[in-house]
Amino acid sequence: MYSENKPTQALEEIKQMMHRSSRFVSLSGWSGIAAGICALVAAWIAHQKISQYTLENSTNYNDMQGAYIFKDGQLLLANQLLIIGILTFIVAFFFAFLFTWFRSRKTGIPVWGFTARKVIINIAVPMLVGALLIWRITDLGVYGLVAPACLLFYGLALINASKFTLSEVRYLGYLQLLLGVINLWAMSYGLYFWAAGFGVLHILYGIVMWNKYERNEKSVV
């Protein structure tokens, strides 16, 4: 008969259960920070590759063979950037998962459940569609649209998934959209926008979330 004696406790349990069962709450701030650092490192490597490429191509720009190298080189560069992108995604996802897993062990909330599935599905659908679009964009050689498309579809994915996780994810999504839209009219700065969105914003988000939720979190184990 605990609910007659302790209505406060009963209400607290109801609230907790409603929150826990409808939202994926284990997402750690450290996940954001780690993903952001991965993105910044990747952007730096990509920047090196691009400057190296422009340097090499300006030297033999004038001879005929240079024109061919230019074409092959461009394809090679695009492929290298694609590989960097895929590797970044895998590494960032791995670290993001790792820190969230650590946190869920600490709080005792199982990481893989019904809410995690909802978050994954709601992120995966816009991301997959975005990936297909980016694939077509690169096929058509409009490389300047790659960074804005990444930011826009990632932003939409976050907003879509925010219903099932911490609501602050929504604001991160809006900021990604904002960067993506501005980038549409500043296409030659794609890499900087990409680094700002996937690097800086993730790190800032991670710090804010850690400060808000995890700083004073007690371990239950």
């Binding site: 008969m1 605990y2 609910s3 007659e4 209505p7 406060t8 009963a10 209400l11 349990e13 109801i14 609230k15 259960m17 409603m18 826990r20 069962s21 409808s22 199982p110 459940g113 019904f114």
Partner: protein, 99 residues
């Protein structure tokens, strides 16, 4: 004066039944296994409480299949929704009464 406790539903005294209702009020439909994981209870224990909630008409059971495996899901009924919200209101009223 009306006793505030009289508004409390006896069914919701049990914390597992209270937990089931809390989960179902925010989730349209949920499977037995997900419910079990969320409430951290054993099969038998959960099943008993689910039966009593069903008998009171607070929840609906849907039996389905995923391939050959049975997949039982639960959802809240209109009556369950009303009774649970009323229960929460009474609890809130009691707290205000104490303060």
């Amino acid at each position: 004066m009306k006793n505030p406790i009289s508004g409390l539903n006896k069914i919701f005294d049990n914390r597992i039944r209270l937990g089931v209702m809390s989960v179902l009020i925010v989730n349209e439909e949920i499977s037995f296994n997900d419910l079990k994981a969320m409430l951290e209870v054993t099969d038998g224990n959960l099943a008993t409480h689910l039966v009593s909630l069903e008998e009171n008409g607070f929840i609906k059971v849907h039996k389905g299949f995923i391939g050959r495996k049975t997949n039982t899901t639960y959802s809240i009924t209109k009556l369950g929704d009303r009774e649970f919200k009323n229960h929460v209101r009474v609890l809130e009223g009691m707290i205000k009464g104490i303060k």
